[in-house]
């Protein structure tokens, strides 16, 4: 029984499997079988049965998303599939691992997804900072084309597909699927109005599905091994495995494919090797910069799946955690995060564009010992004023998640900066 499907063929430090190696390991078998024997609706049904949820952070049911694409006579003929490979979430490098390690797996997943929704053109929207992934994807795409997995009338099925690799100009907001579509069209990377949602009117106004790399990589495995197998891989309600990662002052920072729902303790202590000598765990941002802190006092045994983490007041996000230790200033860390967010705001709506820079400057002032008593209230107010519904997209509410939880869990640190007019951690650096 295959336990780690996504990473089974990945050999870190070695070139990825080429077409022959990939096919030898049953690669593209799902494509051959599906295109020959199944209807697009069957693919959607199987993925639905498996309950695959999007691995980009939001955890949306993949098959449900695919089902929103209008089909039939009246539907627009032209449809698009876009792979969101703009992995720019701080501390996150799981998609890179998959693309560098086994590019054919992603291509096979895209072929199946495109077949499911009836797209004949697909794009991989890749982060500019991933040149190695770009190189390996290019080579794999060429191999797949030569091998007859892409192009016209694939394996005699009548289905056509071409996949284009697009290298992003580089903005965090491009991870937001509609900003990604604008960027792909050559426009400003600003999120779009929703509705209409991309499955109805996306790229160039046509039905479009945007899926994360990890999500697409799972599709061939589900079709090969079945929904039951997939569901059995997870520990809780969510099936499958998940790429979990840890960065920060742990003994072995890295990335591991583990059953969905593996606890935080297991990830940090068993896989990351626990904290480095002399450091204590203070908090964890579970899945990218825009998720709320979890703390060891409350959450060590939390299963890291979508629902459990949400119940604990945060989000699983990308599942790649950033670890805060006891010798790093939380205010400094927050300031660093908000500096990132203030720079990456697309500038479309007022609260995000002008509110986050104010937060960042205030945090910088606090960190520098120039904080004022009223700054705490100002920060609290901003976490509320930049909350969901107040801004055009989820960027600013996301940016507020680590801030609001830090203000709760590390309030003393903020206050000490202000009363002592200095950073209490400064000597420790």
């Amino acid at each position: 029984m295959i336990r780690r499907p996504l990473t089974a063929l990945i050999r870190p430090g070695e070139p990825p499997p080429g077409l022959r190696d990939y096919e030898a390991a049953d690669g593209y078998a799902a494509v051959r079988g599906t295109l020959k024997d199944l209807q697009p609706g069957d693919v959607i049904d199987r993925v639905k049965e498996a309950g695959l949820r999007g691995r980009g952070g939001a955890g949306f049911q993949t098959a449900m998303k695919w089902g929103f694409v209008p089909q039939g006579e009246d539907a627009p003929r032209r449809k698009y599939l876009v792979c969101n490979a703009d992995e720019m979430e701080p501390g996150t490098f799981k998609d890179r691992y998959l693309m560098e390690g086994n590019p054919h797996q992603l291509i096979e997943g895209m072929i199946l997804a495109a077949f499911a929704i009836g797209a004949e053109v697909a794009y991989i929207f890749l982060r500019d900072e991933y040149p190695l992934a770009a190189k390996r994807l290019r080579a794999a795409l060429a191999e797949a084309r030569d091998g007859g997995h892409l192009g016209k009338d694939i394996h005699g099925s009548g289905f056509n597909l071409d996949i284009h690799l697009h290298i992003s100009a580089g903005r965090y907001i491009c991870g937001e699927e509609t900003a990604l579509l604008n960027a792909l069209e050559g426009k400003r990377a600003v999120p779009r109005a929703k509705p209409p949602f991309p499955p109805v009117a996306g790229l160039w106004g046509k039905p479009t599905i945007v899926n994360n790399v990890e999500t697409l990589c799972y599709v061939p495995h589900i079709l090969r091994h079945g929904a039951e197998w997939f569901r059995g891989l997870g520990k809780g309600r969510d099936g499958g495995t998940k790429l979990y990662g840890a960065s920060g002052r742990v003994r072995h920072p890295g990335i591991w494919e583990l059953p969905m729902g593996t606890t935080m303790r297991e990830i940090i202590e068993d896989h990351a090797g626990g904290m480095r000598e002399g450091y204590r765990l203070r908090g964890v941002i579970p899945g990218g910069a825009s998720t709320d802190f979890l703390v060891p006092e409350e959450h060590m045994d939390l299963p890291m799946d979508f629902e459990s983490v949400q119940k604990a007041g945060s989000r699983l996000g990308t599942g790649t955690m950033i670890i805060l230790d006891d010798k790093t200033c939380p205010v400094g860390m927050l300031r660093n995060l908000q500096l990132f967010f203030s720079r990456e705001s697309c500038g479309w709506c007022t609260p995000c564009r002008d509110g986050i820079p104010w937060i960042e400057k205030t945090l910088a002032a606090i960190e520098a010992g120039d904080g004022r008593e009223e700054d705490i209230a100002l920060l609290h107010a901003h976490t509320r004023l930049l909350g969901p519904g107040r801004t055009f997209c989820a960027f600013a509410p996301g940016a507020m998640e680590p801030l609001q939880s830090a203000l709760r869990y590390f309030e003393d640190d903020f206050r000490r900066h202000i009363t002592e007019h200095r950073c209490p951690y400064a000597n420790g650096r």
Partner: protein, 897 residues
Amino acid sequence: MPTIHIDGTAHSIPAGVNLLHAALQLGYDLPYFCWHPALGSVGACRQCAVRQYRDEKDEHGQIVMACMVPAADGTRCSIADTEAAEFRASVIEWLMTNHPHDCPVCDEGGECHLQDMTVMTGHCSRRHRFPKRTFRNQFLGPFINHEMNRCIQCYRCTRFYNDYAGGTDFGAFGAHNHVYFGRHTDGVLENEFSGNLIEVCPTGVFTDKTLKRHYTRKWDLESAPSVCTHCSLGCNTFAGARYGAVRRILNRYHAAINGYFLCDRGRFGYEHANRGDRPRQPLVRDKEGTTHPAAAAEALKAASDALAAAKGVVAVGSPRASLEANYALRALAGSDRYSPGIASAEADAAAVLVELLRDGPLPPASLRDVEHADAIFVLGEDPAASAPRMALSLRQAARQQPLESVDKLGIPRWYDRAARDIIQGATGPLHTAWTHATRLDDIACPFRGAPADIARLGFAVAHHLGGDTPPVADIDEALDNRAKEIAEALRAARRPAVVTGTGLRSRRVLLAAAAVARALARVNGENARLGAVFGEANTVGAALLGGPSPEELLEAVAAGKADTLVVLENDLTRRVDPALLRRALEAARCVIVLDYVATPVVDRADIFLPAGSFAESDGTLVNHEGRAQRSFQALPHDGDGRESWRWLAALTDSPWDALDDILRALAEARPDLAAAADAAPGADFRLNGRKAPRSPRRYSGRTAQLADRTMHEPRPPDDPDSALAFSMEGAAKQVPPSLLSHYWSPGWNSVQSLTRFQEEIAGACRGGDPGTRLFAGAENKPAALAGSPPRPFDPAAVPGLLAVPAFDVFASDELAALSPPVAERAAVPVCRLHPEDAAAHGIADDTDAGIILNGASAVLRARLDPTLARGLVALPVPMPGLPPLADDTYATVRPAS
């Protein structure tokens, strides 16, 4: 009508609008920035937050942006909600973190939407203690001043300039709190509608550079409702004046015409009235032949004596003069000795087009009709150059069909952000036929050909629409397929429109348009319209008065049949054969000229009477659709100047003391023009016994303005001609829109206060849209204006090259071209030649070419234009020194030695 509940009060509102739109229309003070009635909702500024409740049981509700929420039946919201109000104040506080707070030195100060909204939200105390970000400003040309530090990033500018007006040399740059709105580098804004940025921008980023040169605060301006004189569309404007000079033009909303926007020619053309060389002094030529300044009475006496002694008086009126002035002139000379002053070829075309509008099969198209049309065929006119505001309407029309896909997805059209993402750059059927490329080609399906071929295309379209138009003989397949495509688009449309004009001075093109209109009326006539473009602001009015051509009258003078020539506001050198004009002016014993710009005809005058420009005159103009509109005096005459009609009235036997006297006489004499008298309330109109004020309530400087000369406040000038007073006192409420001098409402000091003067936002003005329509239309006289297709144009079979006019948006209008900032934008006059024709004539690009036309010659720079049809030479309008073009004028072109 849906019912919505705002803070517990139920209101009926129009269907299909958003909550912000509804709230503003109901008179609520709900602040906003990025929403604009013509640009729709995009959800950028987050200023219009309200609390919305699911139903009457919902006590919690949620904060939403009013501009993004449909005001559907049963919608409940609270504007007063504490959290919503707090959020709105926060938005201002964020916007203000980087705003320079330079109101005292900002041109927008006192009429700034950002000021108004700041006050409205209650934000007043700055908490942000960090440095502000700053930007570098750009030079953007003669019209617009740029001050980026004031920007609050509402994105209205780029949404207007790029999305709405089709501009390509402007945009949003950068990201996060460094978003910059401007050009990629310093330079003149190329789009012809750039001036609207002044009004679209809610603060002082884009301000009027022409105003800046003679700056006046809004509260110190004396304004009047005016009608633009720079083309035939009749856009409504506010003319603001102070100390005897026009200071600026603003858009005056007219739902059926200009809506919210003007073109740059109309906005900045006003400076002709402020020129230093403007003749303001009456002149009389003495016996020795030298002219000397005269008092008004003396000049009038001289004119009166000259007319009395004349052996035959002929009078040439003008399509840029008011109906009243032309009528008074006609009364002075007699109907057979008065000419409307339109050159004969153009006058013939105008007469055909007027007949087609008045008696034709389709009702005339207003600009609003054009804007809403979903399939358009522009036949033989270049509106982008000759009637620019119409090009802006055509640009919106091209989106009508694609917008239906937005409807299908259940997205309201006001949701601009979503609508544009859905339809992307798609355009519906906009077919154009002109001699060479136009500024609409980026959204149009252009046909380029000689006038005869344009006419043939029209007849072929009429044939394919069905009905009695026979097929066009010997038509080539490509042209016929094109005609089929156009006919199919017109037939399938919900609101088809045909647009034509007098630009080519071509009777056959207009007859082709008549054939299309007739066929369209038969197969899909219910909502079909006929759009028309004429030469000047009152071409239709002058053409309706009718009379011989100016050429005919000048011939009479040259032949000695008349010895006295009266010229009203007409630079004849622009219109008639220079040789004929020379002969007539030499033969004339006495030439009496009324004008307000310096022209060669003024130089020749024996008696010159300084007339009022649009700014100093009341008068009625009839626009391209036959709508009579009154334009009012914004500033009193100085010295001896008078309105043309007042000079002329004094020279006739008629007891005409005021404008209404002439209008009454006109209505009696010409029942077909009687409605023109009702274009605006007469001078005796009063509201609660009071006139409407020209000055705003806050005309604070009134007592100080002349304090350096006198302590006493002089009595304001009387105005016997209108129901407007040169004063801040007067009726404050319910002023009819035709008498409204500015938009100003409590709490709303900027142009955005317009919503307070509309019956419905983006709908009619309170009190009805100004003006009266002279053409009922749709008389459907099938026999009228029948024509048959001409033979195809054969370059090999004609002598020389066929000369056709090429209009330029900034150079071709006489008055606007006299405005220095507009003149800066005018194209260098060139003659356009197809590269192969140029080669055949031995002419290289950008070299001088000699043009010989009906015996006259001129030298022009050659511009090789591969879009120009073969066998043509396109000559600039105006063409000094050359006779006017008719439909079949041929030119010899050779390299200039």
